[in-house]
Symmetry: C2
Subunit: 365 residues, 2 copies
C-alpha cells in the first residue's frame, strides 16, 4: 500500500480529529475507501480508541431511497443513539461514480435528506472530519489521470499543518484587528467591512474548529461591499458550469452581474432571496499544495494565492454573539486568482501582493 495512505491516516487521526485513548470513533467508509479505512484502523488501534465502521455507498442509498414510498422515518433511534455516544466521526469519501444519485427523483432525495436532519446535526456535534481518498471517479471529475490525481490529493493533504496553521494565524490576526478589506486586480476594485467580525483559522483540525482535510483557508464574514470584482476561476453550482463572473456592488448589494458561461444559473443564485445579493464570506486560500482547479469546492476554495467570496449565508462562528448576519438560503463561493498583478489591503495597508503575504520573503510593500 502507498505510504501516503498511512501518512494520510496519521494526519487524519492525530492532527485533524485528535483521537485519544478510549474515544468512540465512527469511521464512515465510502465504496472506494477500503485502503484508507485499513490505515485509519491501524492508527486507531495504536491510539487505543474504539472503532465502528459504517458503509456509506451512494449506490446503496440510491437503491433504498428509490424503492421507498418517500415517507421516511425521522432520525431512527438506532443511528441517533450511536452518534450521541461517538466522540469522533471520520468520513472517508471515495466515490466510485460521482453521478450515481442522478437517477433518483429529486423530491425523494430531498425528502430523505430532510428525514436525516437530526442525524446530520448529531454528527456535527462530534469531532467530525471529512476527507477524500482518491478514486478513478474523482480523478475523472477533476479531469485528470488517476496517478496524477493521487499526487494532487496527497500534495493537498500531506502538508506541514502546524507550520501552515502558524502562517494562517498571521492572516487571522490581521483580519480580526482590521476594519476594511480592499481587493485590487484587473477588472476588480472591491472594498468591504469586517469590523467586529472574527476570522476562522481553518487548519484542518477540530482544535481549530476546522473539519475538512485538506483545508487551508482563513475566512470571515464581510459586509457592506462596494465596487466591482471579477472571478476568473471556473465553478460548478448544482451541476451547472459558471465562468468569468463579474459582480458590481452598491450600498452592500449586487446591482449588476454577468457571466460568460452559465449566466442563467448566476441569475437564479442571486435572485434566491434578499441575502443572496449580499456577501456571506471572504476566504483567503492558503494551501499551496493545491495548485489547480479540479471542480471540487473542498479543494478549489483552499487553493493557495486565491481569494473567494460567497454570496449568501454567513458562518455564525464569524459573527458577534447574538448577531444573525446574512441568513440567506444560499451560500455560493466564487474564486479569484490573486497570484499576480493583484493586491489585498487591510485598512489601507497592503497585506498580500502578487500572491506574497507581508510576512513572507519577497514581499513588496
Amino acid at each position: 500500500m502507498d505510504q501516503r495512505v498511512y501518512d494520510h491516516a496519521e494526519t487524519l487521526v492525530d492532527w485533524s480529529a485528535r483521537v485519544e485513548e478510549g474515544d468512540n470513533v465512527v469511521v464512515r467508509v465510502d465504496e472506494g475507501a477500503h485502503d484508507l479505512a485499513v490505515a485509519v484502523a491501524e492508527k486507531l488501534g495504536e491510539r487505543g480508541a474504539n472503532y465502528l465502521t459504517t458503509y456509506i455507498s451512494d449506490e446503496v442509498e440510491a437503491a433504498f431511497v428509490q424503492s421507498h414510498d418517500g415517507d421516511f422515518d425521522q432520525d431512527p433511534d438506532f443511528e441517533t443513539e450511536m452518534l450521541d455516544r461517538a466522540d469522533s466521526v471520520l468520513s472517508l469519501r471515495a466515490n466510485r461514480n460521482t453521478t450515481t444519485k442522478a437517477s433518483v427523483p429529486g423530491e425523494k432525495r430531498a425528502a430523505y435528506r430532510k428525514s436525516r436532519t437530526g442525524i446530520r446535526a448529531r454528527r456535527m456535534d462530534t469531532d467530525w472530519v471529512s476527507t477524500i481518498h482518491p478514486t478513478r471517479a474523482l480523478a475523472q471529475q477533476a479531469g485528470m489521470g488517476y496517478r496524477e490525481y493521487q499526487d494532487f490529493v496527497y500534495d493537498a493533504v500531506l502538508r506541514d499543518w502546524e507550520e501552515l496553521a502558524d502562517q494562517m494565524a498571521n492572516m487571522k490576526e490581521l483580519l480580526d484587528e482590521g476594519s476594511e478589506v480592499r481587493i485590487v486586480k484587473a477588472e476588480t476594485d472591491l472594498t468591504m467591512s469586517i469590523e467586529g467580525r472574527t476570522a476562522v483559522n481553518s487548519a484542518a483540525s477540530v482544535a481549530y474548529d476546522s473539519h475538512n482535510l485538506p483545508s487551508g483557508e482563513v475566512f470571515t464574514a464581510p459586509y457592506d461591499p462596494e465596487g466591482e470584482v471579477y472571478f476568473d476561476v471556473p465553478m460548478t453550482h448544482d451541476g451547472e458550469r459558471i465562468r468569468d463572473v463579474h459582480l458590481t456592488f452598491e450600498d452592500g448589494e449586487v446591482v449588476d452581474w454577468s457571466a460568460e458561461t452559465g449566466e442563467a444559473a448566476l441569475d437564479a443564485i442571486l435572485t434566491t432571496d434578499e441575502g443572496a445579493k449580499r456577501l456571506g464570506e471572504l476566504g483567503i486560500g492558503m494551501n499551496r499544495g493545491i495548485d489547480r482547479f479540479t471542480d471540487s469546492i473542498l479543494f478549489d476554495e483552499k487553493m493557495g494565492d486565491t481569494i473567494h467570496l460567497a454570496v449568501g449565508r454567513a458562518y455564525s462562528s464569524c459573527l458577534p454573539e447574538g448577531e444573525e448576519g446574512n441568513q440567506s438560503a444560499v451560500h455560493v463561493d466564487m474564486i479569484t486568482d490573486v497570484s499576480e498583478d493583484s493586491r489585498m489591503e487591510i485598512d489601507g495597508e497592503v497585506v498580500q501582493r502578487n500572491g506574497t503575504f507581508r510576512w513572507e520573503d519577497g514581499f513588496e510593500e
Copy 2:
C-alpha cells in the same frame, strides 16, 4: 446485476428476517458484498424499513487488533446502544481473502473476541440472519471456479423454503415423538436416545428460530449412544483437515476412535473435556440444493441426504426446560453420507432409506 442477487435479497429480507415497516435493520456489509447490499437496500426501501450499513472487513479488523496494545474496551456503548435498538441484523459475509486474520497473533485475536462478548450477545438478541455472497476467495476455498461457485451458492439459497419447511416438519415430528434413533450403513450401526428432546426445524427463517441462509436441517440433542459410526465426508477443524473418522461408543461415550488423516486433531477434540466424548447433536441434512462438500460448515452440514453428529455441547433449544445437557467447550460436527446403502430408524421403524424419506415417492419400507 445477476437476477439471483435480487432474489437472494428478497429471500433474506422477507423469508429469513421477516422485516416489517418501521423496523430498524443493521446491514453488515463484508468487503465483497456490495452488490448484495444494494439489492438488500432496495428491498428494505420497499418494506419501509430503516437501514444502517456497517462495514465488516477482516483487513480493517486485523489492522486495528494488530496495532492495539491488547487491552480492549469491553462492549463500547456506541455499538451496544445501536444494537439494543435494532430489530434485525443482517450479516452479508463475502470474504475477499479467507486467511487475512492468520497474521494477527492468536492471543490478541482472542482478547478482542472476548471484549466483544456483549456485542455478539446483543446481536443474537435481534432477529439476526447470516448469509453469504459469493466471492472468488470463497470459491477458491471451496475448490471451485467463481461461476460454478455462484451456481452452487444460489442453488443452496434460492429454495422453495416454505415447501422445504413442510418437509422438515415431518422429520421434526418423527424426532419429537420418537425415543431411539438407529443409523445403519457400511461400518456403521449406531443407536442413541432422543427421548424427551425437542428437534429444531432449521428453515432459514427467524420464524423457525433459524438464523442462517442457507439452512435446511432438522437437529436435536441425542444422548446415550451405543455402537460404531463412520464419517466419510471430509471436514476441517481449526484449519486441520480430518478424513475418514471412525468412532465407537460404549455406555454413551467414545471409547475408541481413528482417522485416516488428522488423527492428532481428532485426539485433541475428543480429549478436550468430559463432554467432548459424548454426543451434542444429531442433524439431518435436507437441503438438496447443496450437493457437494465445500469445506464450509454453513453449507456442508445442510447437504441433502447426509446425517451429522456433533461431539460436545448441545443446543439448549433441544433440551427440556431446566436441563443442562452436554456443556462441553467444544462442538464439532462430523458428516456421513446416507444417500445410498443406508437406513435411519426411529423406534425400529425405517424413516429414511438410501436417501429417500418415508413420505417421499420411491421409499422402500
